[in-house]
Structure formats: structure tokens, C-alpha cells
Amino acid sequence: MNASAPPGVAAFSPPALSIERVSHAYGARKALDDVSFTVEPGSFAVLLGLNGAGKSTLFSIVTHLYASRAGAVRIFGHDVARQSGAALAELGVVFQSRTLDPDLTVEQNMLYQGALHGIGAREAKARARDLVGRVGLADRLKDRVRHLSGGQMRRVEIARALIHAPRLVLLDEPTAGLDIKARAGILALTRRLVDEDRVGILWTTHLVDEVRPEDQVVVLHKGRVLACDSARAVMRATGADSIGAAFGKLTGGAGEDDA
């Protein structure tokens, strides 16, 4: 089923993530309104939006928690709703809320995640050692998660998201609640995944200082995409001298339109 990628796919490889005209509503309240954008393989994309912009809803749809009312989400060409197995096998996720078992050790948490992806204990152990080492916590492998700091837990969650070698990783406000040093560490770690391993990243945040000029930026506001381009291009288009100012102009403008 999922191995049957159509021939010629290598010739024009599909985007890592493609959001196609996705709309969703809770009752009468529209959470997402005709949202479209793509994340290319091996690129770092930032989903920028204030609280309530629709980021969480989009995350729930991409991670198959529930299906969108309209539109499609594809991960490397696999429709999340119809070929969820193949799509989710390519996807690693770091949720905003802490999702590690605090009573279990780092390694046990990693092995559980491996099992959820059908990776047997022996192979998962080897991968866990490798990945936990990579996020700089090799000496904490046998420690209970409870005894780690917030930043260290985030690192473990990133390592865990990589255990099945996904080619796309979603991180939902991964730096929320962390101090400046831990934030920088998590960001650097994630950027290394893009540079060294060609992992595609979708990073959601409301903190504009995490954006680099060459990053792809998707500005989501009140359920609509206001801009989708490199940060540099978004700044140029809005005539702003920083991505923060550009974001302010874009979302402020939308506010005026609505009023």
C-alpha cells in the first residue's frame, strides 16, 4: 500500500507537506478559511500566528486527530485522511504540551514511540542511544523524565519525534515556556536537522525573533493565510525592515479590513 509510490515520483518529488484549500469550522466559528501552502523537503518553514489564529486546528488536522471539513492535507503526496498510515509514517511531531511519561526513563519513552511505529526493541534502543546523544543528553538515557529540565524534555521530545526517521517534523510552539538559552538551543538543534539531514520542518510560533530572513514564512491570522514566502520577500512586499514589523503590518491591515 504505501510502498507503491507511482513511478516518476523521483522526477518531481512531492512537497514534504502540502495544505490544499483546507477549511474547518467549529459550529459557526470558522477556524481555518481556505488555507493553502506547501513545505518543501529539507526546508525550514515557520508558521507565524497569534494565539487563536488557527495554528492548533491546523496541527490537529495534519496529525490526523480529526479531519478537515474541506480540502486536503498531503505528506509526501500521501493524503492524511485517505492514506493516513503512509502519511503518518513520514511525520514526526512535537506537541506543544508535554507528552513524555514523567515516570518512565528517557529510553523507555523512546522505545514506546519506536513500538508505535513498529520498530522492535533492539533497533529502537540503538536509534534511541544515537538520537538522545545527538540532542546532547547521552548521559541521561536511563534517567526518569521527571528529573529533566523543561529544555531537556523538549530535546528528548525532538529525539523521540525522529525515532522512525521521518522526513517531515512538525513542532508546535516548541520554545513556549523555555528560557532564552534553552530556546536558542532547541532552535539550533532543529535547524541542524534541516542542514545536515534534509528533514523538512514546520515550526509554529508567535515569536518573530525565531525567524531568519531565508526561512519560509506562513503568516496565519484569523484562519487565513496572509503571506506565504521567504521572510525576506515578505518584508520587501510589506515594506517593513523586520519580520516583526511585516507581521504587524499584515495582521494590523487585516484588522482594519475586518473593522
Binding site: Y66, E90, L104, Y112, H117
Partner: protein, 278 residues
Amino acid sequence: MSAVVQGARRPFGLAGYWVCLQGIVWRESLRFLHQRERFVSALVRPLVWLFIFAAGFRQTLGISIIPPYETYVMYDVYITPGLIAMIQLFNGMQSSLSMVYDREMGSMRMLLVSPAPRWFLLTSKLLAGVAVSILQVYAYLVIAYFWEIEPPTWWGYLTILPALVLSGLMLGALGMVLSSLIKQLENFAGVMNFVIFPMFFASSALYPLWRVQEGSPWLATVCALNPFTSAVEMIRFAFWGKLDPVSAAVVLGCTIVFLAAAVIAYDPARGMLMRRGG
């Protein structure tokens, strides 16, 4: 360099399913072992009923000979299957609580992003809960043995096992359906009041149905229709090395219905998960 982005996409084969199921049961057991107080309270609850309630009622409540018993049995022997089912009922509801809790903490979401089909993930999660409940039941039976509650032959300890798996699945699946309906964590008290107590008391767990019939025919009908009664009777017969086909069939049927309802409740396209907005 590292394991990141290496290795081909593996299809989720039969071995993958097996690894996944093992992993879920293994995690649930580890969690259970770390929550000693949960184990103790799961054990103390039926023992309070056995040592205090049953002891008090021993003299007042005579049990006539009803199947599967061929002789007079003491009241504490009579209520043991009911208490075993109660252990599983509490465990099923507690797993449902843990799913609500898990979902809020996000680890339920973690489970649901596994590429395995959702029905398989939910069933595995159920089986993990059942495994834990069976551990609790056998711990109770060991203590009950020293209270001179034992099956007519040692085989009873073995023949009760399939009954425990089936009743555990039914009660766990019911809990899972409820977990998709519970809005907040605090509402477990509501589950106690509106699910656990009525199910337990309106059943043959504490008194045989013919006794209820004498008092209130209407209530006896309710008790007879309560699937928990079927679970209790199935366990009662199994512990005595016998099979009660009717109760076993009812439990099996209810398990299938509850399980289907749980899978629908957690279905991404029409599920109730959507209503709360993640």
C-alpha cells in the same frame, strides 16, 4: 552520521502490528507499576467489600442453591465474582479517565499519530488495560484464597482467565466510549455516580436475581438486562469451571457494540474529538 533519515520507509507489516501491541501493553504495565497507590486502592476496594460488607451480611442473607453452585455457598463466595467484575469495572473506567487525562496531556495524541490503523491502536490500548485488570484480579484471588474462597478445583483459576479477558474488554470498551463523551477530567465523579454505582448495584453482583425479583420485579428486569450482570455471571460460572453460554454471548455482543462505538467516537472524520476543538 546518525539514524536520522536513513532506512527505507517500512510498510507497517504484521510484525509491526505485533511490536506496536507489545509496546502499548508494556508501557501500560510500566505505568501501572509506578503507580503503587493505584494498585493498592484497586485491591483494597474489593477487600473492604469482602471483609466488611460480606462478613456483615453472611448471616442475614441466605443463598439458596443456584447454578453454578451445587451446594450451599457462603455469601462471601457468592459475591466474589461480583467483586472481580467490580475490579474490572473500576479499571475500565479508570483507563477511560486516563485517556481523557492522556488526551489533555497529549500522550493520547501521541498514540494517535502512529501510522497503525486507529481501531488497532484503540484495541491495543484496551488490551493493555485488560492485562492490568487481570493482574489486579489475581492479586485479589490470592488474598481471597486465604479467606477460604476457592473454586471447587484448581482449574477454576485457569478457566476464569478467558472470561476475565472478555469482560475486561467489554468494560474497557464502555469506558472508552464514555471517555470520548467526558468533557472534563473532574467529571469522573459523575462517571462513578451515573455509571459505576448503578451498573454495580443493579446487577447480580451482590444478590441473586431471584431475590431481587421478590422485592421488585421491575428492578429484576433491569438487572437482567444490565450487561454487567452477564459479565458477573460469566465470571461466576467460569470460576466454577463451567460455561454459561447466554451470559458469554451477551458479553461478547456488548463488547463488539461498545468497541465499534469507541472506534466511531475516535474516528477523525466524524469523531467527537472535533467538537471540543483539540
